[in-house]
Every structure is written in C-alpha cells, then in structure tokens.
C-alpha cells in the first residue's frame, strides 16, 4: 500500500471511530511518519479531490467526503456517534460509507424547518423531502465548500 493510501485510510479510520477529523500531526504520529510527509500527502489527496484542507491551514481537514471536519447543518447519528456531513448527498454518504443505519438531522434549505431522514437496512425510509443541485457537475470543484 502506498503512503498516500495509508494516510487516507488513517484519516477515514479515525473519523469513523471518533467522529472527528484528525489533523496532520495526529496522522503522522499514528503512522510513525514525518509531519512533512503527511502534509505532502494531504496536498496530493487534495489534488485528487479526496480531501479538502481547512482554508488557511493545510494541516487541518475541512472535508474528507462524505464527512465534514466542522459542524454543518447535516448531522448524522450512526453507530452511537454524531457525525457531520458536507451536504445532502454526503448526509446519505455517511451511512453508505459506514454501512450502518443512521438518522439524519437537517433542515429545509429555505425555511429552516427541521428535516429528519432515516436510513435503515440499507435504504432510506420514505420522507417528504427533495434535494436541489444548484451547481452543474463541471463546476462542483470551482468552489467545493459552496457546492
């Protein structure tokens, strides 16, 4: 397994276990690797669109999709933990990645009315709810934090 894959797996393993995105020093310590190597791997994973660092701080993770490194309006309760997702798609992505049942606590993008979704036994339960994709696929990464 190459180093970047080891870093990526350690990031996801940590998030899955703790519901918190690790910073580069934590990953370096866990892998017994130099911090500079881990920071370089963070950058390469970002170039591959597998990771988004915190703006202004390349050692911290804003997005390791579907997980968010910060609190968002998409809270996902699964495996007895509270995760945060980046968007509607990623809110379902968390239980898909964890292969777990989940309850998603979100809200209507305009009215703010609470929306509660549930994934059970590998499928979403019916709910009066839709998702709107405002940005075309060709422009998703022009401003991924907005997308």
């Amino acid at each position: 397994m190459d180093f970047d894959t080891s870093v990526k797996l350690k990031i996801y393993e940590t998030i899955a276990e703790t519901a918190q995105a690790p910073a580069a020093p934590e990953v370096a310590q866990a892998l017994g690797a130099p911090l500079s190597d881990v920071l370089a791997a963070f950058n390469r994973l970002h170039q591959k669109r597998l990771l988004v660092p915190e703006p202004g701080d390349p050692a911290r993770i804003r997005m390791a999709s579907p997980f968010s490194g910060v609190e968002t309006p998409f809270r996902v309760l699964a495996l007895g933990k509270s995760y945060y997702a980046n968007c509607a798609w990623d809110a379902f992505g968390v239980p898909a990645a964890l292969h777990a049942d989940a309850v998603i606590e979100a809200s209507d993008g305009f009215s703010g009315e609470p929306i509660r979704l549930e994934v059970k036994d590998g499928a979403p339960l019916p709910q009066e709810c839709i998702s709107h994709f405002a940005v075309p696929a060709a422009r998703w990464w022009e401003d991924i934090l907005y997308t």
Binding site: G93, P124, R139, W140
Partner: protein, 79 residues
C-alpha cells in the same frame, strides 16, 4: 446540495439567492448516488469515480445531459 421539504421552498430559495432552478433529486436517487460514491470509501480500493464513470452513474438513475457531465464545456465559464 441542500434539502427541501417541497418544490415551493426550492423555488423560494432560488428566488432569494438569484439562481435558476436546477435538477431536483428524490431520496432514492440520492441514496443511489451516496452508495455508489461512498460505499467503499473506508477501504483500500476507494477512489473517486472518473468523469466517464460519473456520467454512467448519473445516467443509471435518469440524470442525463450536460448538467451531469463533469466535462461539459458549456458550464465551465458561465452559470
């Protein structure tokens, strides 16, 4: 990519933000996209789908056309 309770609140959001209404995705479509994209994200084999794979994934649930094509030129410099 936001969630809405109804098409009415989608339209209200679009008006408030000055953007055109774009595709609406139901929960079954959203779940398919999530499983396809992220189902193996915690494994060694995980990788982001390539552009052609993305088009195929979206087409499988009826999402076709340039809006869903990451290589569509018409979206690159204007909204």
């Amino acid at each position: 990519m936001l969630l809405f309770r109804s098409e009415e609140t989608v339209d209200s959001w679009c008006r408030a933000n000055g953007v055109p209404r774009r595709p609406l995705i139901d929960l079954d479509q959203l779940w398919y996209m999530a499983v396809t994209w992220y189902g193996n994200r915690l494994t060694v084999e995980s990788r982001r789908p390539g552009p052609d794979e993305m088009v195929q994934i979206f087409a499988a649930i009826g999402l076709e056309g340039p809006f869903w094509d990451p290589q569509a030129d018409q979206w690159r410099s204007s909204t």
